[in-house]
Symmetry: C2
Subunit: 243 residues, 2 copies
């Protein structure tokens, strides 16, 4: 029997924001593997399936579980929030897949926080943008600083993932200070907390104000480019149409 | 009656790759407005609805149509391929919405080509990435060049949208030449044509090879970062896990 693992992006959490393809994969799976926070967001009927989880930072073990379950002949779906290919486990699965050549890996894309958060705020990503994770668990902070500087230099809209955690309370402040060295303090910015879940909170503010905002690991942060404006309370990056 | 327009990202085209929220919006709409190529991709049952279209480059007129139809009391859905907030019409709608303060605009996010194309290739976006459109219809070419240089400087994975059109046949070549001035020619890259539609074609190659590839307006191009590798024919950007 052909062994196959589906690596599924579940979007922000609500079933309506998953693609039909992602829902089908979860429905057809014998076992769903994921981080417990996201397993709990699944709709009732899917929560009755066999579910396997590992604690936070147990990503390697979570991937190993997938291969072990596939080995037993089960249809396995690994879920990640947003898109599994954006700061999710897709690449680690491909890396570990080298040892499991007989297991096919298929990525099912989902709506990542950059896109779902943008939709809540208005249309901040309507021109060239980049995403930067402020987590220095796996990336040296110097590289993050270098990317922030380059993104500002290139006048990209910037989306910050993982802007804070329990241990990294000041990363957003540090990032804003780097950006403020070449972006004006009045630059329009925005943030969204708990996108597509209970307690969604969105706010637009300036870069200077953003520097002092308290954020958590469920916040996604948007820094406008030179083409970004606030229109009726929405964060909008113009594409250049003459109107 | 409250006037509302849904700005809907339809993903790459197949219904299975739309979110349930996007499908519902189209089902509930009285009229669906969009570019004819994308209207034709809609499932049969939705094609029976009233549809309105304007030719390519008639974006402003398409947005005006939406407001005019909403004015008549109709429920309007404007569809864009991928995510309407990424090189789509969401921001133009908000700009034009200034003149239609009584019409609420709601963006329903979708899976953009960066994410759907990445899933076909493997996991190239699994670390910081940026998107750059090579279309100079609305953006001066100098700004595009500046962004390419900054993206290479920041060691981002780069996704190129609109890498060519009938009139701009050499833009990908010119972009690759800029990138080759600071990225090694062997850097892993990839391209996907007709993502999620009939005739999907994916290829991995080096940056040097990419320079001479023929692409069209339905191609999305991926240039790896220093952390990108080809693993079993898939384009994979490592996140930094020790395995």
């Amino acid at each position: 029997m052909k062994k196959e693992i589906w690596i599924v992006g579940m979007g922000p959490g609500r079933e309506e924001m998953m693609t039909a393809e992602a829902v089908s994969a979860l429905e057809e799976a014998d076992v769903i593997v994921g981080y417990s926070t996201y397993l709990r967001l699944l709709p009732e009927r899917l929560r009755e399936k066999e579910q396997l989880s590992t604690p936070m930072r147990g990503e390697k073990e979570r991937c190993m579980l997938c291969f072990a379950e596939a080995e037993k002949g089960k249809r396995v779906a690994l879920i990640c929030s947003g898109d599994a290919g954006v700061y999710g486990l897709a690449s680690l699965m491909f890396e570990m897949g080298k040892e499991h050549a007989d297991t096919a890996l298929r990525v099912i894309p989902g709506v990542t926080a950059a896109n779902s958060g943008a939709a809540v705020l208005g249309a901040p990503l309507n021109h060239d943008f980049c995403t930067i994770s402020l987590s220095d668990l796996l990336t040296p902070w110097e590289r993050i600083e270098r990317r922030l500087a380059a993104a500002a230099q290139g006048d990209f809209v910037i989306v910050l993932y993982n802007p804070a955690s329990h241990k990294r309370k000041d990363h957003l402040k540090r990032a804003c200070e780097i950006l403020l060295s070449c972006i004006e303090p009045e630059r329009p910015c925005g943030l969204v907390e708990n996108i597509g879940r209970e307690g969604t909170r969105a706010e637009v503010c300036t870069l200077r104000e953003l520097r002092d905002r308290q954020v958590n690991m469920f916040t996604t942060v948007f820094i406008g480019s030179s083409g970004t404006e606030i229109i009726d309370g929405r964060l909008v990056t113009k594409r250049g149409y003459q109107i």
